[in-house]
């Protein structure tokens, strides 16, 4: 199969094109820029057929996607950092209305101080909005996951954000195998929503939820998110049988965990920095792919019996710990024999995570260090 040496952003745009969205509503922001620019070029060259709405802000981009998706159209957008933050209130609405919008988030730090460089604070800060949140390690995984994201969204009737690290992944050239159009068409059937806007069968969307009903509807979103774990797993295994590539069980992936007593847990592209050190350092790697829904059950099975684990992440829940660290710790609380646990806040605002950093982290995990420390 032919490999295309392209920027990971272009690989994502190619995947979006293959999914044939009807409406793209985008507002430019670094480092997502190359995704939407590539899509705009495809439209201008007639290689893609969709309506691109040039909106005046990301808040409007998400609003336009909500409107488009409500009619049953396949809606897509891409953003980063401040743009995602500006969408915040509309993200709750998209999820609450159960609209399967798909979005690419190219992860970037949040101001202040102003920074265009990578960390995952932007998407982690949208954790509680009701969106499915998938993170990827490399360009191929981004290309593949983008296609899976469209399918997962429509099956779960929930919006999905596909998150990739800005610059360190989005702007890296690597060989990517593009999926084939006909196969993607079969993999991604026409969208089906319980309700669409249709003048011949009128409905009211975005209504008031009085106390009698509101909580029931919020619970409905939570139940849908929890159920989406099975959908993600199913889509991942179907993807693997159709296209030959697989990403763990779709929610979580382990790398050389056989016989290991220590593990490093992480999310996104930093897994690539850990890979070459695993054998030398005697540490296994656990990659969280789905941040929401959080794969707690799967994580418990993998971590049961381990002596120590450490979480490295590019975000901080200010006033407490890294958000991933806390999620992992809470998931493992019910284990009878819990591993000792350490947390590492690293790579914030584009700070490099070097092989030496990674080595020292693994050393500390092996020494069963506890607590959370910053690498800066």
């Amino acid at each position: 199969m032919a490999k295309n040496v392209v920027e990971a952003s272009e690989g994502v745009a190619e995947a979006v094109k293959l999914c044939e969205p009807d409406v793209l509503a985008v507002y430019p922001i670094t480092p997502q820029t190359h995704v939407s620019e590539t899509l705009a070029r495809m439209l201008a060259d007639g290689r893609m057929d969709a309506e691109m709405i040039r909106v005046e802000s990301e808040h409007s981009a998400m609003s336009a996607c909500i409107g488009a998706q409500a009619t049953g159209a396949r809606a897509y957008t891409a953003t980063s950092s401040q743009g995602l933050a500006l969408m915040h209130e509309m993200l709750f609405i998209a999820a609450g209305m159960r609209l399967p919008i798909t979005m690419t988030v190219v992860n970037r730090s949040l101001s202040a101080p102003l920074s265009i460089w990578n960390d995952q604070q932007d998407s982690f800060s949208q954790r509680d909005t009701g969106w499915i949140q998938l993170h990827v390690e490399d360009g191929q995984e981004a290309h593949d996951t983008q296609v899976m994201a469209f399918r997962i969204a429509q099956e779960a009737q929930l919006p999905v954000m596909m998150c990739m690290d800005g610059f360190v992944l989005s702007h890296v050239y690597e060989p990517i195998i593009f999926l084939q159009k006909e196969k993607v068409r079969k993999f991604l059937p026409k969208p089906r929503q319980d309700y669409v806007l249709n003048p011949s069968k009128p409905v009211t969307m975005g209504t008031l939820g009085t106390p009698e009903y509101y909580m029931g509807f919020r619970k409905q979103v939570q139940d849908a998110l929890l159920r989406s774990s099975d959908i993600i797993k199913k889509v991942n295994s179907e993807f693997s049988s159709k296209f030959g590539r697989k990403y763990g069980d779709g929610l979580i992936e382990t790398v050389s965990m056989e016989g290991k007593r220590h593990a490093l847990i992480t999310i996104g592209s930093v897994a690539g920095t850990a890979r070459p050190l695993l054998e030398e350092m005697g540490v296994g790697l656990i990659k969280i792919k789905s941040y929401r829904p959080f794969p707690a059950e799967e994580l418990r099975k993998i971590c049961e019996g381990l002596e120590s684990i450490g979480v490295i992440e590019k975000d901080i829940s200010m006033g407490w710990n890294g958000a991933l660290f806390d999620d992992v710790r809470s998931a493992l609380y019910d284990l009878k024999k819990r591993p000792t646990m350490s947390g590492f806040i690293a790579g914030i605002g584009g700070k490099d995570i070097t092989l030496d950093d990674m080595k020292s982290i693994m050393q500390k995990i092996r020494e069963k260090k506890s607590g959370v420390e910053w690498l800066y």
Partner: protein, 89 residues
């Protein structure tokens, strides 16, 4: 708990009339005998729940308490000072 539609969609008409929002009321406007059935309160009622009707052989303003929220705008607009306010019991 009733079965809820996906995404809080209202797929049948009539929810505005089936929800008896009069239960939100704190103040209770009451039309007295001074009413001259001019209909000004009908025009100003934001809920559209006052009607001029024949009642006990006389035309007067009649409030539909299923939907009246007790905003008391009718009292402020009544030229005959024919509407009184009380607390909802």
């Amino acid at each position: 708990m009733k079965k809820l539609s996906t995404g809080a969609v209202v797929d049948r008409p009539g929810s505005s009339s089936s929800n008896r929002t009069g239960s939100w009321r704190t103040f209770h406007p009451k039309v007295t005998e001074k009413c001259i059935a001019c209909g000004i309160c009908v025009q100003f009622c934001p809920e559209g729940c006052i009607e001029v009707k024949q009642e006990k052989g006389k035309k007067k303003a009649v409030i539909d308490y299923d939907y009246c929220k007790g905003c008391l705008i009718c009292i402020g607009q009544c030229p005959s000072k024919a509407i009184e306010s009380g607390r909802e019991k």
